[in-house]
């Protein structure tokens, strides 16, 4: 059940170029958050729309959740000015996230691009807790944009690619996938639309889950801002990313 809450900022730090990590405290983390769900943040009253940000980690006991965000425009820019001790207007948790109960995976491949990496962290943690083997492939623009490599290392094997070759593999995450053939049964991917398209094409035949992004209005499923079309066989013709997603099976939606 979604709540609107003024959450306390417990911690806020820069973790990579343009990239910040924030830990929030409140009741929302106690509502059984699933990996892949997001919070919808009102940065301050200067803004008219909320910003959707994925949940990167949850500590139910401590009542905290972690988010990571990249400075992109005005809203994320203003967010950087918030300080420990400030309050933040948060609506969440939003969406459905990864269907943890239905998963039949034994060996999972996580594929994250840039600021698509964070939700895969919480997912990876939960998979490992369930005894599932996890391999991660993470892509970043360049070395200075890398974050969470250590955290993913704790979950299993990690491959890093950078667009400019300043760290790890020089190129795209998709370059790494052929080498991993046979080592996973299910993949989980989050990142820019072009990457998701390439990944789902490359991994046709595998069981997969994609977490996709779109500009949102309400973030609760009421305004039809965030739809994604479905294949012709689907009678409804669309899914709402904020309510039905943001996680979909690649065959469920048309990217």
């Amino acid at each position: 059940m979604m709540k609107r809450e003024w959450m306390d900022i417990l911690h806020h730090e820069k973790v990579a170029t343009d990239t910040y990590q924030m830990v929030l405290n409140g009741d929302i983390p106690g509502s059984g958050i699933r990996p892949g769900q997001f919070v919808h943040i009102l940065v301050d009253d200067n803004f008219f729309l909320r910003r959707p940000i994925s949940i990167a980690d949850v500590d139910e006991q401590a009542g905290t959740l972690t988010i990571l965000y990249k400075v992109l425009g005005k809203g994320t820019k203003s967010l950087t000015a918030k300080q420990q001790g400030d309050k933040l207007d948060v609506l969440g948790p939003g969406g459905n996230g990864f269907p943890m109960e239905e998963l039949k995976t034994k060996r999972a491949l996580l594929i994250g691009g840039g600021i698509g990496v964070p939700p895969l962290h919480y997912l990876g943690r939960q998979l490992v807790e369930q005894g599932i083997e996890v391999i991660s492939v993470l892509g970043f623009q360049s070395k200075e944009y890398i974050f969470f490599e250590k955290q993913f290392n704790e979950l299993g094997e990690v491959y890093v690619a950078t667009n400019d070759g300043s760290y790890g593999h020089h190129g795209f995450v998709t370059d790494i996938l052929p080498g991993l053939e046979g080592r996973f049964d299910t993949y989980f991917s989050c990142g820019p639309a072009v990457m998701l398209k390439a990944v789902s094409k490359e991994l046709t035949g595998y069981d997969g889950y994609l977490s996709i992004e779109e500009r949102m209005g309400c973030g609760v499923g009421a305004c039809f801002a965030c739809v994604v079309p479905t294949p012709e066989s689907d009678a409804k013709g669309y899914r709402k990313i904020c309510r039905d997603g943001p996680v979909f099976k690649p065959e469920e939606v048309v990217l």
Partner: protein
């Protein structure tokens, strides 16, 4: 205690605050946040004859004190709305207003006829002002003759009162209002969104895939107040006012200008409790400014 109730054609409202069409879906999502029976009424998302997918995404963009949207009338079609959405709304003790859209007069008639026969619907809001569809919609909203024609035809088939929703993208809002009043409209609903655009400096293209979108939010409130103020002086049918309402003070401003009730739109996205918060604050706010009933406030700026 302040009396918040108001009776309008077809609508016995326990308070004058309703969510605006397209900003509240068919109510289901917001029923997770509070009891919808607290609302004065609910204006549901536009219905068309057939299911529509709407425009490509992105469909929304933020602006200074507002937003653009170009949903493009996405909806499951009138038949499915009647079978799948209205029964849920019937559980609440609040009147439902159906927003009716179309590309042709025939489509308007078909949708209005069907949905007005539904038990759950107390009134129709005739959407002749949607700026986000290529055909229909907006032409009906900018030419008085066309507006009058579609109003007349819809009135002829509707079992419930018809409120015509006016577009602000016109040179002369009073002529539009008078034309639809003469054509038999039971009330007016104003305003729909102002047509606007934002460009992305990186892609050098409009942010909204559709190019233009409808501007809503506090940015447009002064335009809405002006139009309602002028229309109130020239027509005798009630007005449901909307555009940028965020607070109980805003509601009072609309009522003083001449609205008899209001709709709260895009601010529901900022605060899902917006309608409830406004309703809760209204009695105290009325009190603060020396009013004890809505009748005293409505049109107060003209006395």
């Amino acid at each position: 205690m302040s009396n918040l109730s108001i009776n309008l054609p077809g609508l016995k409202l326990k308070n004058p605050v309703m969510p605006a069409s397209g900003c509240f879906g068919f109510g289901k999502e917001f029923s997770d946040f509070y009891d919808l029976s607290e609302l004065g009424g609910i204006i549901i998302k536009a219905a068309t004859g057939e299911q529509r997918y709407g425009n490509p995404t992105p469909r929304v963009a933020e602006t200074s004190s507002g937003m653009l949207n170009a949903i493009g009338l996405q909806n499951p079609g009138v038949d499915q709305i009647i079978t799948d959405e209205l029964p849920f709304l019937g559980e609440f003790d609040t009147p439902i207003i159906a927003n009716v859209a179309g590309s042709t007069v025939e489509e308007y008639i078909e949708v209005a006829r069907k949905i007005s026969r539904s038990e759950q619907i107390s009134a129709i809001e005739l959407n002749i002002s949607c700026p986000n569809v290529k055909e229909g919609g907006v032409q009906f909203g900018t030419e008085p003759d066309l507006a009058a024609e579609v109003t007349r035809q819809v009135k002829a088939v509707s079992d419930v009162p018809v409120y015509v929703k006016l577009s602000p993208n016109v040179s002369d809002i009073v002529s539009m209002a008078k034309a639809v009043e003469q054509a038999g409209a039971d009330g007016l609903s104003m305003i729909n969104t102002l047509t606007g655009m934002r460009l992305d400096l990186n892609s050098r293209k409009p942010i909204i895939a559709n190019g233009t979108g409808g501007l809503s939010g506090p940015a447009i409130k002064p335009v809405a107040i002006r139009m309602i103020y002028h229309v109130y002086q020239q027509v005798n049918i009630p007005i449901i006012g909307m555009g940028g309402i965020e607070t109980a003070e805003d509601v009072m401003e609309y009522l003083l200008a001449g609205a008899s009730a209001v709709a709260v739109g895009s601010v529901n996205f900022k605060n899902p409790f917006a309608c409830k918060d406004i309703i809760d604050a209204l009695p105290e706010t009325m009190n603060k400014y020396g009013f004890s009933s809505l009748e005293e406030i409505i049109g107060g700026a003209h006395r």
